[in-house]
């Protein structure tokens, strides 16, 4: 623990705005209905490019400040050209990013200064499932582990509570740990 004259904690998260939004949206629940979007275009082989630009929320169409792209492919061990991360790795990236953002927000709210946060996300996967080599093996990860290294002005229990609370408020964690109806159609 360090003590300084100025107790102002700055993790770069505008918690005031988030708390104001929570209060405002509780009174106007329709504005809280968001739709997130990604477009994926096949390029060649197992290589595709995902594009993220627009979303809907706060009762209107919204747009990111710029367009983000995500190349996805498979590694050479899959006889592919490895033009990007595998889709399953992108899922792990999403989980790590969501929990890390949560830690920063919760730390800001709890007045805890972060110095560094590093998540190592690993997913165990029996690929006989996706290869169709064993009908008993599911396609999904058999387990996912997230290891956090957090350096912050806080006790170990306070840091553990940040990490636990970030899971409690994480959209990706919730999506991965609970069933979500997924519908796929084609024109």
């Amino acid at each position: 623990m360090t003590s300084t004259e100025t107790p102002t904690v700055d993790n770069g998260v505008n918690v005031g705005a988030l708390l104001d939004a929570r209060k405002a949206l509780a009174d106007a629940p329709e504005a809280a209905q968001f739709q997130w979007r990604a477009e994926t275009e096949w390029i060649k082989g197992t290589h595709s490019r995902g594009t993220v630009r627009t979303f809907r929320g706060l009762g209107a169409e919204q747009e990111h400040v710029s367009t983000f792209t995500f190349d996805a492919d498979h590694p050479e061990q899959f006889a592919a050209e490895d033009q990007g991360a595998t889709p399953v790795e992108i899922v792990l990236v999403g989980l790590g990013a969501c929990l890390t953002a949560g830690i920063a927000s919760v730390a800001q709210l709890r007045n805890i200064q972060l110095r560094s946060v590093k998540a190592t996300v690993t997913g165990e996967h029996d690929i006989l499932g996706i290869l169709g080599g064993d009908p008993e093996v599911p396609n999904r990860f058999t387990s996912i582990k997230v290891h956090f290294d957090v350096d912050a002005d806080a006790t170990p229990d306070e840091i553990a509570a940040l990490v636990a609370q970030s899971q409690k408020r994480s959209a990706v964690y919730d999506t991965l740990t609970n069933p979500v109806p997924v519908s796929v159609d084609v024109n």
Binding site: A26, P29, D157, A160, A161, A164, Q165, Q167, K168, Y173, D174, L176, T177, N178, P179
Partner: protein, 427 residues
């Protein structure tokens, strides 16, 4: 049409505490009770249930436990007798067997319609109980046919009978949904009856029965945690929906936490998240909900220790040091699915909470009385949308202890003070 200044709806501990304060202030009133005094305790709780709170912690205005076991826990029958004794002692003007059917506004107050008389009153205090009707989650509808269902407590109005005791259940496995006080107690006694229990665990509030030799609720009371106020707590919406404390009142003062259930043979699984094709889908978040609960109880005990070193030094100087919190154990691998058609599970006990039954207020019409979840809007029990209308006995109404018998005294005092001010008119 009979007329009083105030109608109190419900003759449980809250309604009677309000009645006592009204009497003390000389406000004429009547207490309308659909059945008998302390009806929920007579009819809506399972056989083995005892109060979670020690006997000494059932203080009502002008009344307290006078038996020889202040640290014990009353059975439901003893609670009934205790509350009946209170009604007699304060000579509460109770009209038993009077079911309120509608509350309507008039120019100068309210009309309260019942299956007996219709009353006129300037003010109405709703003390009809915060835990009357079982709250069943949406997933209930998706459960395949062929299983027995029980609700942990309540009036069984949704067509599901209330749980009474293990003998009331068929042989075979039991899924208990919800790790509340009800859920863990029922899981424990059903497992002890020889039926394999699976407990679906979402968020919960872990509590040791005792800490440093004193009842944990002694600490909550003495250190002031129970007195946390509704207008000062940081996240009131969340505080009002917290699951009940995982406690059981037994003569042996046992701690009944998830570890105790595991040792008894109960199988823990994640929250019941859905049912698809007859298979229950269990959340993968179990390890996080137990971590949250472990961290939270450690923080609470630290709060007690900090109080013991400062304001509580005199009261706690002879107490032994604190015991560390044992982490909640989980098996290496927890199933994520449970086939409800396999015959392994024969009964589901829904310990998913209770809600108040305030249907008689809908006759008030278009006032903004309800929030988007259908809960009554109130400011510490004052229903601001309808002046002269009050509620009491709801979770965290004015303080953390609002749903305890012991919370009724202070809440009733505050509410009757407000009510008297309302009757007096603008100063």
């Amino acid at each position: 049409m009979p007329q009083v200044t105030s109608v109190v709806i419900g003759a449980g501990h809250s309604g009677l505490a309000v009645s006592k304060h009204l009497t003390d202030r000389g406000i004429d009133h009547v207490v309308l009770e659909r059945a008998e005094v302390a009806n929920s305790w007579r009819t809506q709780r399972w056989d083995s249930l005892r109060l979670l709170t020690p006997n000494w912690l059932s203080r009502l205005p002008g009344y307290s436990y006078r038996g020889d076991d202040p640290d014990g826990y009353m059975t439901a029958a003893e609670v009934t007798a205790y509350i009946e004794g209170y009604a007699k002692e304060i000579a509460a003007p109770v009209r038993a067997g009077t079911t309120v059917t509608a509350v309507r506004r008039t120019d100068d107050g309210y009309v309260v319609e019942t299956d007996q008389d219709t009353w006129r009153a300037r003010t109405v205090v709703v003390a009809a109980g915060g835990a009357t009707v079982p709250s069943l989650p949406d997933v209930f509808e998706a459960v395949p046919d062929g299983l027995e269902h029980r609700v942990a407590a309540g009036s069984g109005e949704e067509g599901v009978p209330a749980y009474r005791n293990p003998d009331d259940l068929p042989e075979g496995g039991v899924l208990v949904v919800g790790p509340s006080a009800s859920g863990i107690q029922i899981a424990h006694e059903v497992q002890a009856s020889g039926r394999q229990v699976t407990l679906a665990v979402g968020e919960h509030v872990r509590m040791p029965r005792t800490y440093r030799g004193k009842d944990v609720l002694w600490w909550m009371d003495a250190a002031g945690v129970f007195d946390d106020r509704y207008d000062e707590v940081p996240d009131l919406a969340r505080a009002r929906v917290l699951p009940s404390m995982q406690l059981v009142g037994t003569p042996e003062r046992i701690t009944l936490d998830l570890n105790a259930l595991t040792r008894a043979g109960v199988r823990l699984v994640g929250r019941l998240a859905g049912v698809r094709d007859g298979v229950a889908q269990l959340s993968g978040s179990l390890s996080n909900v137990v971590t949250l609960a472990d961290l939270k109880v450690k923080r609470l005990l630290r709060t007690f220790d900090e109080w013991a070193e400062t304001d509580g030094a005199e009261l706690t100087k002879d107490l032994p040091p604190g015991e560390p919190v044992e982490p909640t154990m989980l098996p290496e691998s927890v199933p994520l699915e449970l086939d409800l058609r396999s015959g392994e599970i024969r009964t589901i006990v829904w310990a998913t909470g209770l809600k108040p039954d305030l249907g008689f207020l809908t006759a008030l019409g278009d006032l903004p009385l309800w929030d988007r979840k259908g809960r009554i809007r109130h400011d510490g029990g004052v229903v601001t949308a309808s002046p002269g209308l009050y509620v009491i006995g709801l979770p965290f109404l004015r303080r953390r202890k609002s749903t305890l018998i012991d919370g009724a005294a202070a809440d009733a005092d505050d509410i009757v003070t407000h009510l008297a001010g309302y009757l007096a008119g603008p100063a």
